[in-house]
């Protein structure tokens, strides 16, 4: 049924469309800016000559536009009588329908506060055009007539327009790393290394000058060969273990070794120090010391695991 009707109508209306003659127009059009108190000056414009400089409007003011709509020369009321404001940058536009009388007298009062926020905050002047059109055959009119420059006055709450969320690519982010601590110049390091190493010979020299010697070693080895060998050996061994620990080993490799070597140190130490004892001050044993060493050897083990 419905689409039958939609079949028919074209045929009917085709006839009407055929004799298209008249078109919409307007004249004695004025625009006027009204403030709170004082009404501004009327400015006249027409289809042919539009206003040269933009009309500024601030947030307490409003623009009043008067015109007479004519169809084929005589005043008539169009169905569509808009003043359309367009922001030329964004292409956004907002229509303001005029109230029209039978005789085509049309008026619209555009308050600043009626402006959509994008337009109100637009930087470029807004293009105002009059659109007059209606049903039937007569041709519509769509003409830019003047432009409006909305000006925000400082002592009013500024309109803020935050852009709505729109999906799209976002700016890239690259993390900036903290910079690594830097080494002092190698020369200084090297120099100090040498200086530090140099102290060892100095130490030995110092000792020699004080008449230090290891001349008792033969005696020691004679009296308690194993003890001394093992004792001093195990001291070196322990330091060696520490070195290995520093280089590669893990705690769990180190601990057993330490405990073993520690035990060796203790046993040999008992004898060795005993011997030293006898050498220096004859006739006193010093097992005690070694005992203590043992217990420490173990303490060592206990506290590190």
């Amino acid at each position: 049924m419905r689409f039958l009707h939609s079949f028919v109508t074209p045929l009917l209306l085709a006839a009407g469309a055929a004799q298209a003659a008249s078109s919409w127009s307007f004249d004695d059009a004025t625009v006027q800016v009204n403030g709170k108190k004082a009404a501004g000056t009327k400015e006249k414009f027409s289809e042919t000559k539009q206003l040269s400089q933009p009309i500024t409007i601030s947030n307490t003011e409003s623009i009043k536009i008067l015109l007479v709509a004519k169809d084929g020369g005589k005043g008539k009321r169009p169905h569509q009588a808009f003043v359309v404001l367009q922001d030329e940058l964004s292409g956004l536009e907002a229509p303001f329908p005029m109230t029209v009388k039978e005789n085509g007298k049309a008026v619209v009062d555009i308050k600043y506060t009626d402006l959509p926020v994008q337009l109100a905050t637009s930087s470029a002047p807004l293009k105002a055009s009059v659109v007059l059109a209606s049903f039937g055959s007569s041709q519509g009119l769509n003409k830019p007539v003047f432009s409006i420059a909305p000006k925000v006055d400082p002592n009013a709450a500024p309109l803020v327009y935050e852009k709505p969320l729109r999906y799209g690519k976002r700016e890239a982010i690259h993390h900036t790393f903290r910079d690594d601590p830097k080494n002092p110049p190698k020369i200084i390091s090297a120099f100090f290394v040498l200086a530090v190493l140099a102290t060892v010979p100095a130490l030995l020299v110092g000792w020699l000058s004080l008449g230090a010697n290891v001349s008792h070693i033969q005696r020691a080895l004679r009296d308690a060969p194993i003890a001394h060998g093992v004792f001093f050996g195990s001291l070196i061994a322990l330091e060696g273990v520490f070195y290995l620990y520093y280089v590669s080993w893990t705690l769990f490799q180190v601990l057993p070794v330490i405990s073993v070597v520690g035990a060796a140190t203790f046993l040999s130490g008992t004898k060795a120090l005993g011997e030293v004892q006898r050498r220096d001050s004859p006739g006193r044993g010093d097992y005690d010391s070694s005992q203590r060493k043992m217990c420490c050897g173990n303490k060592n083990g206990v506290d590190e695991d």
Binding site: F3, S6, F7, T9, P10, L12, L13, A14, A17, P78, H79, Q80, F82, V84, L92, P97, T99, V131, A133, F135, G136, S137, G140, N142, P164, L165, R166, Y167, G168, K169, R170, E171, A172, I173, H174, H175, R178, N183, K186, S189, F192, A195, V196, L197, T199, L203, L204, W207, G211, A212, N213, V214, S215, H216, A220, L235, E239, A272, V276, D280
Partner: protein, 490 residues
């Protein structure tokens, strides 16, 4: 009859799947009266399963029929229910205008919303001549789509209408087929002059018009899930034909703010499309001759192609992106580069890649990112630390692999590899892979002998120890002041 059809469907489900939309092919069409479907026979025919009983024709036929298994219902019928035992009983719903004020208990706003939440797609065809059912109005409000007051409105444009059919009422708008909303969007609705819709970039020549007869316009809220497919020309406006006023006083909307065909895609990629004019889908307007204002020659409407594009998009035949797989791995020599490890270390080099396909009518094709757009990877904890462009690396016949390599920031924590690619008209891609990023282990720091700055101190310890050993030797073996030179110093 339908049961037989559906039985055959079952029998051929495999081959049918091959050509049905990625989201399933059970389509429910709701009309005021099932008989009305003849008015849309071309449109529905395009959707229908072609030659079900001749499977070997499928591929040939697939140009005309798109393999939907269509069921017809009226709002009133009690057999109508979108859900069965909590499961969707249809994949898509196509609603034609109905006269009744309400849509009955089976199509309440909650049901429709539920349908969307269950990833069902809805194509909503309205009309300027019949008031929109209130339940649709309120469900559209939930989507932030607004219809004219008292559920009725007609879009007219006195400047470009079809002079042959609507020279008096000016309610048949002739519009160029829409271009992309934004340069960086894929656009599916710009038709080549032949009328065949193509998802590819084919900007430039957009000859031919789409007729929009007797339609109702909508305005859209600010939300990002909404996007207009077809916007009204600037001189057009919507008014309420019921009120017999000579002029419009309270204007609903006009110009580009007035959306004639609007798309809504939910977070779960379910789609709802509002077509302001059901007539534009009708046989009448699929290819008639129309004449623009002030033109002598009349041209054919591209409604058929446009209808195909719109329905195709709504029913998930185009613009559906599939994530095939996501993979990230350590990118350092000497370490295991197993896929998707649970934990990384700070300052690791890592490669992330994702493989994407896009469904196009009847098959998956490699997904390509539009020219001005980027596929981005966010590496984030609380806030993104990195946002990097994913570059296409490998492209097979049905997928593209995008990937990027970078060094993890020097911040430990629980991080996300996040690909969040949401674009209008493309189904949402949201891939979140969580990894823990640990600090340096105690044995991963540079050793002290590697650091030149530490040498003197190492030497210091060494010297101390040596000196100490020497001292022990001296203490143990030094004779009280006497002669005898010293050897055995280490």
């Amino acid at each position: 009859m339908r049961s037989l059809v559906s039985f055959l469907l079952l029998a051929l489900v495999a081959s049918v799947q091959a050509i049905s939309s990625s989201g399933g092919n059970r389509l429910l069409v709701i009309l005021e009266d099932v008989a009305e479907k003849d008015g849309y026979s071309k449109f529905l025919g395009d959707l229908e399963v072609p030659y079900l009983y001749k499977p070997h024709h499928l591929l040939i036929a697939s140009t005309t029929g798109r393999g939907f298994d269509i069921a017809y219902e009226t709002p009133k019928s009690e057999s109508l229910s979108l859900f069965h035992l909590g499961e969707r009983s249809y994949d898509h719903v196509l609603l034609f205008p109905t006269k009744a004020k309400g849509l009955g208990p089976n199509l309440t706003p909650n049901v429709l919303l539920e349908f969307i939440n269950a990833e069902g797609n809805i194509l909503l065809a309205l009309s300027g001549s019949t008031p929109v059912p209130s339940s649709l109005v309120s469900v559209l409000l939930e989507f932030d789509i607004h219809l004219p007051t008292d559920r009725q409105g007609l879009v007219v444009d006195h400047f470009n209408y079809d002079t042959t059919s609507a020279s008096e009422k000016h309610d048949v708008l002739l519009l160029p087929t829409p271009g992309p909303l934004r340069p960086d969007y894929k656009h599916f609705f710009s038709l080549s002059s032949s009328g065949a819709p193509d998802g590819r970039e084919r900007a430039g020549e957009r000859s031919g018009v789409v007729a929009f007869p007797n339609g109702i316009g909508q305005t859209l809220g600010q939300g990002p899930l909404l996007s207009p497919i077809l916007r009204a020309p600037s001189t057009s406006y919507s008014y309420n034909p019921k009120e017999e006023s000579e002029a419009v006083d309270d204007l609903f909307a006009s110009g580009s703010q007035l959306s004639l065909v609007s798309a809504f895609q939910a977070r779960n990629s379910a789609r709802l499309t509002v077509v302001g004019s059901a007539d534009m889908l009708s046989n009448t307007w699929f290819d008639t001759d129309v004449k623009k204002v002030g033109e002598k020659t009349s041209i054919k409407t591209l409604n058929r192609g446009f209808a195909k594009a719109v329905s195709g998009w709504t029913f998930g035949e185009i613009g559906v992106v599939r994530v095939n797989w996501v993979e990230h791995h350590l990118n350092e020599e000497g370490l295991s580069n197993a896929s998707n490890p649970k934990i990384y270390r700070i300052k690791n080099d890592v490669t992330y890649s994702v493989s994407l396909s896009e469904y196009s009518w009847d098959k998956y094709i490699p997904f390509t990112v539009p020219a001005n757009d980027e596929l981005q990877l966010e590496y984030s904890m609380l806030s993104p630390f990195n946002r990097l462009k994913l570059n296409p690396t490998i492209s097979s016949e049905d997928s593209t692999t995008y990937s990027v390599s970078f060094k993890l920031p020097d911040q430990h924590g629980i991080f996300n590899f996040l690909v969040n690619y949401k674009r209008p008209f493309l189904s949402n891609v949201f891939e979140k892979n969580t990894v823990s990023v640990r600090h340096f282990a105690h044995d991963e720091w540079p050793r002290s002998f590697v650091i030149s700055g530490a040498w003197p101190w190492i030497a210091g310890i060494g010297v101390t120890v040596t000196g100490w050993l020497a001292f022990c030797a001296v203490w143990l073996y030094s004779a009280p002041p006497a002669k005898g030179e010293s050897k055995k110093k280490q």
